[in-house]
C-alpha cells in the first residue's frame, strides 16, 4: 500500500485507480462516471494545472502517515457526508431566479465545521446567500429531470462581476457552495495525488448523500485561491476546474484565444456550435493625480506667532491627511452581453473601446495608512503613557528640589499658616512667572537651553491662565461660569461620559497644550517642562490666595478625571484659606467670613473660646478624619481668647445651665419649630461644610471603613468615625439654641425620628404628644452618645472638619510627583474627548452619514472604556485607531470632492448628482457611473484618465502634445477620438471574461447542459475557472 502512494507521486493518476485501490470496502460503489478525473478532453487544463503545480516548490504539508488506510479515508468521507446531512444540504430545492444585484444587496452567511483526515484538520464551510424561506416553497419531492440550482446559476447573467463577493461567487455565479480547506492558514494540499484523493472523497460523498450543492476543495497555498470541485445532480455532473498561472500564454490574452480554449474544453460534438454568450469587463487603474495637488501640509511649527502655530492655536487640534488618502481610482468598463461574432478582439485588433462600453462603474482605493494629523497627534500623546522617566530625569536635574523640601515637611508648611500671609500681588504677569521658573531651571542646568522657549511658554501660560494678564486683582470671578449657555448641551456634557473635563476647563486646555507641546515643541522634554511650570503656578496660587481659573466652584466633580478633581480640590483649599485670611483681616468689622460665603453671623466681642485642653479631650473621643488637633475652623489668634462661661457649660452640658448662655452661630430661625422646654423659636445653626473629597480620597476612606469589617464593633467604630459631622452639627445647634434637648435637634435634623401623636389629655382636649422614635431611644445609641458629648460651640470655633492647608499640600505634592506618563494617563480622556469633538466639527462641514454613525459608536465605546479605572492599552489604542479612521474617511471625502471638482460644478443639479456620486464612492465598494462614458461623472473620469495619460506620454516621449483645451475638444468628438482612443486610457489592469453556453456533453445525444468559463488576466497572473457539465446517465 505504501508503494501505491509512491506511484501517485510519479504522475497523473486517474481517480478510478485511486478509488479502487485505496478503498477496499467502499460503503457504496461510486457510479462509474465519478471515476473520471482528467479525461482526455480536459488535457489542456490538466497540463496547465500541472504547469502551475510544478512552479511550486514541493513542500508537502498534507501528510498522512498511512495514506491508504481505508478506515481513515472512509471515516473522512463519512464525516463529509455527516456534515452535509447535518446542514440539510441534501436533495434539490430550487430557489427563485437570482435578481439583479442580489449578490451585493443580499446577505451572505456561512456555517463552519471541522473534520479531519487522520490527524490533518480540514474546515468545511457552507457559504450561502440568505433567501426567504418562502422561496423554497415546499419542493421537497425530488424533481428527477430538473438540473441542480447551481448548474442553472452558472448561466445567470444578473450578477456578473459583483462588487463584493467570495471569489467562487465571482468566478462561477454560485449562490451556495461548500468549501473544504485545510483548517490552519499555513497548511496546504500540494501534491496532485492528494488533490485527487480529496476530490474523490468529495465525489463519493456527493454521490452517497445526493447533495446537489457544489462541493469544493481548496488546494495549493491558500493565497493562490485554487479550488477544484464538483456538483452532482440526477444523471448530471459539473466539474469545477481551475488554472492559475503567473505568466499568461499569449493566446489567452484576448477574446478569440479564450473562445478557442472554451470550445475545445467543451468538445462539443455539434456543428454548428450553439452561440456562446460573452460578458467582458476591462478595469483601468488611475494612479496619477498629478494634475491635482494634495494641499494639506503639516503645520509649520516655526511660524509661531501670537499663539498660532501655522494656523494652529493652542487649544485647537490639527486635522486632515498629509498625503492624498485616495491612492487609486479603478474604472471598470463592462460589456455585459455580447455574442460571438459581434465584436472582434484578437492579438492585432480590438473593438473593445472603454468609451463605448455600455456600463461604467468606479471604485476607489484608499491609501493604506495615510498620515493623519489628528490621529498622529493623539497617538503620539498616548505614547507618553508608556514612558517611564520622571519629570526630573527628563529635565536632567532635580526640578522640585527646593519645593520638594518644603513638601516633604508638611509641618513646616503648616507652620506657615500662622505667619502673616504674603503681600498679595495684584497683577500677575506671565512673563514674571516664566522668568522665575526659568531662572530656577538655569540655576540647575547651567547654560543648557530649557526645552520650551520663552515665547511658547508665555503663550501657553497666558492661554491657560488668562486671568494673569488682566489688570484687575484676582478674585473668584475667573472660575468657570456655571450658567454657561453651552453647559446644557449634549456636546458640552460629553466630559460626563468620557470622565474627562469640561471643554472650557483648565484641565482640558492643559491636555491640549501638552498634546501640542509633545508634537511640536520638544516632545517629552517639553511636556515635562510645561508640567513643571504648571505645578509652580499652582503653588504660587495657593500661597498667594489666587483662585485657579477655569474650574467650576464647589467640591470636586467626581464625573471628571482625577487630575481635574485634584485641581478643584486645590481651589476649594484656596477658597477657604482666602476666606479665613480675609476674615482675619476684617475681624474688627465683626463680620463672620462664613463658610464658603454662606453665613452672615455676627461675631460678638464676647466670643467664647474653649481651652485647648478641652479641645484635646474632645478630639480624642470623637476623632474623625481630620487628625490635626490644632486647626480650628476659624483661626482666631490666641490673644483673642476671652474669658467666658464656656468652660463650665461645656462640662456640665445640661440644658438648665446652658439655657442661660448667649446664643451663637445662628443661621436663621426655623419656620415653625419652637424649643420644647421654653417655647422659644428654634434656630438653625451655621454649620461646617463637609470636607470636599476627590475620588482617591473617597476610595481610601471607604477602604478604611470597609476594613472595619461587618461585626457589631466594626459597625460601631465605622459610625463613630463618620460622626464628626454629626457632632459638629450638634455643637453648632447647641450653641445656637441654648438649653435645647436632643428632641429639638432631632426634629430639625431627622424629623421622621420624632413621632407625634394626637392624644386626649385629662381635660378631654386633643393635644399633640411627641416623642423620639424607638431607634433614637435605644440607650447609648450613637446619637444619644454624641448628644451628651457635644458642647455648645458655634461652627466657627470648632475644630475644622476640613484641613485645607494639609489637603492643599497633599494635592501640590501629588501634582509634583506625577511623571509625564502619569500625566498623559490622567489627561488622555480629555484628549480623546477633544479629538472626538474635532472630528465631529469637521464632519459637520462635510455631512457624511457614515461618519456620523461611527462617531456615535466611538462615543458609546469610549464612555464604556474610559469609565473603568485603568482602561487597557489595547482598548485605548482601538479608540484612537477609530478616531484616526474617521479622520481618514473625512479626508478621503475631501480628496474625492476636490478630484471630481464638486465645488467647481456650476449647474446645481449636476453638482448634486456629483456630490451623491462622491459620497457613494465612500460608502459603497463600487459605484455605477450613470450614463457611462457619456454622463457627467463619466466625462470627468475620462478627463482624469486623459490627463494622466498625457503626463505619462509627455514624460515618456519628450514630444510636445496638443494643448489641453484642444485635447479635451477631441474627447467630445467621437470620430477623432476613435483614432486616438488608444492614448486616452492606459492598458487595462484587469481583463475579465465570462463565456457561457448550453450544449450536450459528452455525446451529441446527451442532455444540453450549462457550460461556463471565467477568465481573468492581470499584470501578475492569469486564471481560468471552468465549470463544465456533462450528462452521466447514458455514458
Amino acid at each position: 500500500m505504501i508503494a501505491a502512494f509512491d506511484d501517485f507521486q510519479t504522475g497523473l493518476t486517474t481517480r478510478g485507480r485511486c478509488c479502487a485501490e485505496a478503498r477496499p470496502r467502499p460503503p457504496l460503489p461510486p457510479s462509474p462516471d465519478a471515476l473520471l478525473f482528467f479525461p482526455a478532453y480536459l488535457a489542456p487544463f490538466a497540463a496547465l494545472l500541472k504547469m502551475a503545480a510544478d512552479s511550486e516548490p514541493e513542500s508537502e504539508v498534507f501528510e498522512i502517515t498511512d495514506f491508504t488506510t481505508a478506515s481513515e479515508w472512509e471515516r473522512f468521507i463519512s464525516k463529509i457526508e455527516e456534515v452535509l446531512n447535518d446542514w440539510k444540504l441534501i436533495g434539490n430545492s430550487l430557489g427563485k431566479p437570482l435578481e439583479k444585484g442580489v449578490f451585493t444587496s443580499g446577505t451572505w452567511e456561512e456555517k463552519s465545521d471541522e473534520i479531519s483526515f487522520a490527524d490533518f484538520k480540514f474546515s468545511v464551510t457552507h457559504h450561502y446567500l440568505v433567501q426567504d424561506s418562502t422561496d423554497k416553497e415546499g419542493k421537497d419531492e425530488v424533481l428527477e429531470d430538473v438540473i441542480p440550482q447551481s448548474m442553472q446559476d452558472l448561466l445567470c447573467m444578473n450578477n456578473d462581476f459583483p462588487p463584493r463577493a467570495h471569489c467562487l461567487v465571482r468566478w462561477y455565479g454560485l449562490r451556495e457552495f461548500v468549501v473544504i480547506a485545510p483548517a490552519a492558514n499555513h497548511d496546504a494540499v500540494l501534491s496532485e495525488s492528494k488533490c485527487n484523493l480529496l476530490l474523490s472523497s468529495v465525489s463519493i460523498a456527493l454521490g452517497n448523500t445526493g447533495c446537489q450543492v457544489p462541493l469544493f476543495v481548496q488546494i495549493h497555498h491558500k493565497w493562490r485561491r485554487m479550488y477544484v470541485g464538483e456538483c452532482q445532480g440526477h444523471g448530471v455532473r459539473t466539474d469545477f476546474e481551475m488554472v492559475h498561472l503567473r505568466k499568461v500564454p499569449n493566446q489567452y490574452t484576448h477574446l478569440s484565444g479564450l473562445l478557442d480554449i472554451f470550445k475545445s474544453k467543451i468538445g462539443c460534438p455539434l456543428t454548428p456550435l450553439p452561440p456562446v454568450s460573452i460578458a467582458i469587463r476591462l478595469t483601468y487603474v488611475l494612479q496619477d493625480w498629478q494634475q491635482y495637488f494634495w494641499p494639506q501640509q503639516p503645520p509649520d511649527i516655526d511660524a509661531l506667532v501670537g499663539g498660532e502655530v501655522g494656523g494652529l492655536e493652542f487649544g485647537k487640534l490639527p486635522f486632515g491627511a498629509c498625503e492624498d488618502p485616495i491612492s487609486e481610482l479603478h474604472l471598470a468598463t463592462t460589456w455585459p452581453h455580447l455574442t460571438e461574432g459581434i465584436i472582434v478582439d484578437n492579438d492585432v485588433y480590438s473593438d473593445l473601446d472603454p468609451i463605448q462600453a455600455p456600463h461604467w462603474s468606479v471604485r476607489v482605493r484608499k491609501a493604506d495608512n495615510p498620515q493623519c494629523l489628528l490621529g498622529d497627534f493623539v497617538t503620539e500623546f498616548f505614547k507618553i503613557c508608556r514612558r517611564k522617566e520622571s519629570t526630573d530625569e527628563i529635565l536632567g536635574r532635580s526640578t522640585f528640589e527646593e519645593e520638594g523640601r518644603e513638601i516633604a515637611d508638611i509641618t513646616h508648611a503648616l507652620s506657615k499658616l500662622t505667619e502673616p500671609a504674603p503681600v498679595p500681588i495684584h497683577k500677575l504677569s506671565v512673563s514674571n512667572m516664566v522668568h522665575t521658573a526659568k531662572k530656577k531651571i538655569r540655576k540647575h542646568r547651567g547654560v543648557e537651553e530649557s526645552p520650551l522657549n520663552n515665547d511658547v511658554l508665555n503663550t501657553i501660560l497666558l492661554f491657560l491662565f488668562p486671568d494673569a494678564a488682566s489688570e484687575k486683582p484676582l478674585d473668584g470671578s475667573s472660575a468657570v461660569d456655571n450658567n454657561n449657555p453651552l453647559s446644557e448641551s449634549e456636546e458640552y456634557n460629553l466630559y460626563n461620559q468620557f470622565k474627562s473635563a469640561p471643554s472650557d476647563s483648565l484641565t482640558y486646555k492643559l491636555a491640549l497644550c501638552l498634546c501640542m507641546i509633545n508634537f511640536y515643541h520638544g516632545g517629552l522634554k517639553g511636556v515635562a517642562h510645561l508640567w513643571q511650570e504648571f505645578v509652580l503656578e499652582m503653588r504660587f496660587r495657593w500661597e498667594n490666595n489666587f483662585l485657579i481659573p477655569g474650574l467650576a466652584s464647589g467640591p470636586p466633580d467626581l464625573r471628571c478625571c482625577l487630575l481635574h478633581q485634584k485641581l478643584q480640590m486645590l481651589n476649594c483649599c484656596i477658597e477657604r484659606k482666602k476666606a479665613r485670611d480675609e476674615g482675619r483681616k476684617t475681624n474688627t468689622s465683626d463680620m463672620f467670613p462664613g463658610d464658603a460665603g454662606k453665613a452672615g453671623d455676627q461675631l460678638g466681642p464676647d466670643n467664647l473660646k474653649d481651652t485647648d485642653k478641652e479641645k484635646g479631650e474632645v478630639g480624642k473621643s470623637w476623632d474623625s478624619w481630620s487628625d490635626s488637633e490644632e486647626e480650628f475652623f476659624e483661626c482666631l489668634s490666641d490673644t483673642e481668647e476671652l474669658k467666658g462661661n464656656g468652660q463650665e457649660s461645656g462640662k456640665k452640658g445640661g440644658p438648665k445651665e446652658t439655657a442661660s448662655l448667649k446664643p451663637e452661630g445662628r443661621l436663621h430661625q426655623h419656620g415653625k419649630l419652637t424649643l420644647l422646654h421654653n417655647g422659644e423659636p428654634l434656630y438653625i445653626p451655621v454649620t461646617q461644610e463637609p470636607a470636599p473629597m476627590t475620588e482617591d480620597l473617597l476610595e481610601e476612606q471607604s477602604e478604611v471603613l470597609a476594613k472595619l469589617g461587618t461585626s457589631a464593633e466594626g459597625a460601631h467604630l465605622r459610625a463613630r468615625m463618620q460622626s464628626a459631622c454629626l457632632l459638629s452639627d450638634m455643637e453648632s445647634f447647641k450653641a445656637a439654641n441654648p438649653g435645647c434637648f436632643l428632641e429639638d435637634f432631632v426634629r430639625w435634623y431627622s424629623p421622621r425620628d420624632y413621632i407625634e401623636e394626637e392624644v386626649i389629655d385629662e381635660k378631654g382636649n386633643m393635644v399633640l404628644k411627641g416623642e423620639l422614635s424607638a431607634r433614637m431611644k435605644i440607650p447609648s445609641n450613637m446619637w444619644v452618645e454624641a448628644w451628651e458629648t457635644a458642647k455648645p460651640i458655634p461652627a466657627r470655633r470648632q475644630r475644622r472638619l476640613f484641613d485645607d492647608t494639609r489637603e492643599a499640600e497633599k494635592v501640590l505634592h501629588y501634582l509634583a510627583v506625577q511623571k509625564p506618563a502619569d500625566l498623559a494617563r490622567h489627561l488622555l480622556p480629555c484628549v480623546i474627548h477633544a479629538a472626538v469633538l474635532k472630528v465631529k466639527e469637521e464632519e459637520n462641514l462635510e455631512n457624511i452619514s457614515l461618519v456620523k454613525k461611527i462617531i456615535k459608536q466611538i462615543i458609546t465605546h469610549s464612555s464604556k472604556v474610559l469609565h473603568f479605572p485603568n482602561p487597557e492599552d489595547k482598548k485605548l489604542e482601538e479608540i484612537i485607531h477609530q478616531i484616526t479612521n474617521v479622520e481618514a474617511i473625512i479626508a478621503r471625502a475631501r480628496s474625492l470632492k476636490a478630484k471630481f471638482g464638486t465645488e467647481k460644478c456650476e449647474q446645481e443639479e449636476e453638482k448634486e448628482d456629483l456630490e451623491k456620486f462622491v459620497s457613494c464612492l465612500l460608502e459603497q465598494p463600487e459605484v455605477l457611473v450613470v450614463g457611462a462614458g457619456r454622463g457627467h461623472a463619466g466625462k470627468i473620469i475620462h478627463k482624469l484618465f486623459v490627463n494622466a495619460q498625457r503626463l505619462t506620454e509627455s514624460s515618456d516621449e519628450a514630444a510636445a502634445m496638443a494643448p489641453p483645451e484642444e485635447e479635451l475638444k477631441r474627447v467630445s468628438s467621437p470620430e477623432e477620438r476613435r483614432q486616438n482612443s488608444v492614448s486616452d486610457f492606459p492598458p487595462p489592469a484587469g481583463r475579465e471574461l465570462i463565456l457561457r453556453t448550453t450544449v450536450p456533453r459528452p455525446a451529441p445525444y446527451s442532455r444540453a447542459l450549462p457550460q461556463r468559463m471565467y477568465s481573468v488576466l492581470t499584470k501578475e497572473d492569469f486564471r481560468l475557472a471552468g465549470a463544465f457539465s456533462s450528462d452521466t446517465s447514458f455514458f
Binding site: 467626581l558 471607604s702 461587618t710 459610625a719 454629626l726 435605644i778 461611527i854
Partner: protein, 241 residues
C-alpha cells in the same frame, strides 16, 4: 471559597431615612430583624456571597444614611456601584414622593450609565399602607427599574430582591469584571415563566431593565471600514490588491 467567586459587586442602598434600608440589609445578611437598630450615621457596610444561577458573586453592600445632612457625604459612594437599591416605605407616602429626588441624585453622581436599579417598597407587613403596589410598579417601569415589595420584618421578598438584582447585573455585559478570567459566566436561560422563577414576582418586575448588550471585549461594534479593501481581496488574485 473565594476562588469560585465570579466577581465582586458593589451594591448601594439608598432612600429616605427610616424606610428600613439597614433593616433590609440586616435581614439579607444575617436573616434577622432588629428593632433596636440605630439610625445610620454616614455609611455602613456589609458583605455577603450569594449564588445566582450557578454564579457566585460576592456582594459589597453599602448602606447609606437617608438623613438629609449626611447626603452630602453619601453620593461619593455611588461611584463604581453596579447596582442600586432604592427603598421607600409603603406606609409613608412622603418617602415615595421623594423618590424623584433620589433618582436625580443617582443620575448626577453615578459614574456609569448602565447601572442596574431596583425599587423596593418596604414594610408591607404594616397595616396602614399609603402607597399602592401599582404605583410602585408604575414608577419602576417609567424609570427602567426592577421592582419588588418587601418586608424586612417578615422576610418577604428580601432575598429575592438581592438575587434578582445580582442576576441582572451579571447579565449586563461590561458592567462587571470577572475576577477569574478563564471562568465564564453561566447564563442560564430561565424558563419558569413570566413570574421570573423563584421570586414569583410580577412580569413587570423583569421587563423594564436596560438591555443594551454590549461587550467590552467585542470589537464588532465598528462597521466595516475595511469594506473597500475587502472587495479588492475578492477581486481576482493578489495582483490587483
Amino acid at each position: 471559597m473565594d476562588e469560585d467567586v465570579l466577581t465582586t459587586l458593589k451594591i448601594l442602598i439608598i432612600g429616605e431615612s427610616g424606610v428600613g434600608k439597614s433593616s433590609l440589609l440586616l435581614r439579607f445578611t444575617d436573616d434577622t430583624f432588629d428593632p433596636e437598630l440605630a439610625a445610620t450615621i454616614g455609611v455602613d457596610f456589609k458583605v455577603k456571597t450569594i449564588s445566582v444561577d450557578g454564579n457566585k458573586a460576592k456582594l459589597a453592600i453599602w448602606d447609606t444614611a437617608g438623613q438629609e445632612r449626611f447626603r452630602t457625604l453619601t453620593p461619593s459612594y455611588y461611584r463604581g456601584a453596579q447596582g442600586v437599591i432604592l427603598v421607600y416605605d409603603v406606609t409613608r407616602r412622603d418617602t415615595f414622593v421623594k423618590l424623584d429626588n433620589w433618582l436625580n441624585e443617582l443620575e448626577t453622581y453615578c459614574t456609569r450609565n448602565d447601572i442596574v436599579n431596583m425599587l423596593v417598597g418596604n414594610k408591607i407587613d404594616k397595616e396602614n399602607r399609603e402607597v399602592d403596589r401599582n404605583e410602585g410598579l408604575k414608577f419602576a417601569r417609567k424609570h427602567s427599574m426592577l421592582f419588588i415589595e418587601a418586608s424586612a420584618k417578615t422576610c418577604d421578598g428580601v432575598q429575592c430582591a438581592f438575587e434578582e438584582l445580582v442576576e441582572k447585573i451579571i447579565q449586563t455585559p461590561g458592567l462587571w469584571e470577572s475576577e477569574n478570567q478563564n471562568k465564564g459566566v453561566k447564563l442560564i436561560h430561565r424558563e419558569e415563566g413570566p413570574g421570573g422563577g423563584a421570586c414569583g414576582g410580577p412580569e413587570e418586575s423583569k421587563m423594564a431593565v436596560p438591555t443594551e448588550s454590549w461587550c467590552l471585549g467585542d470589537s464588532s461594534w465598528m462597521p466595516q471600514l475595511s469594506m473597500i479593501v475587502e472587495c479588492y481581496k475578492y477581486f481576482v488574485g493578489p495582483g490587483l490588491s
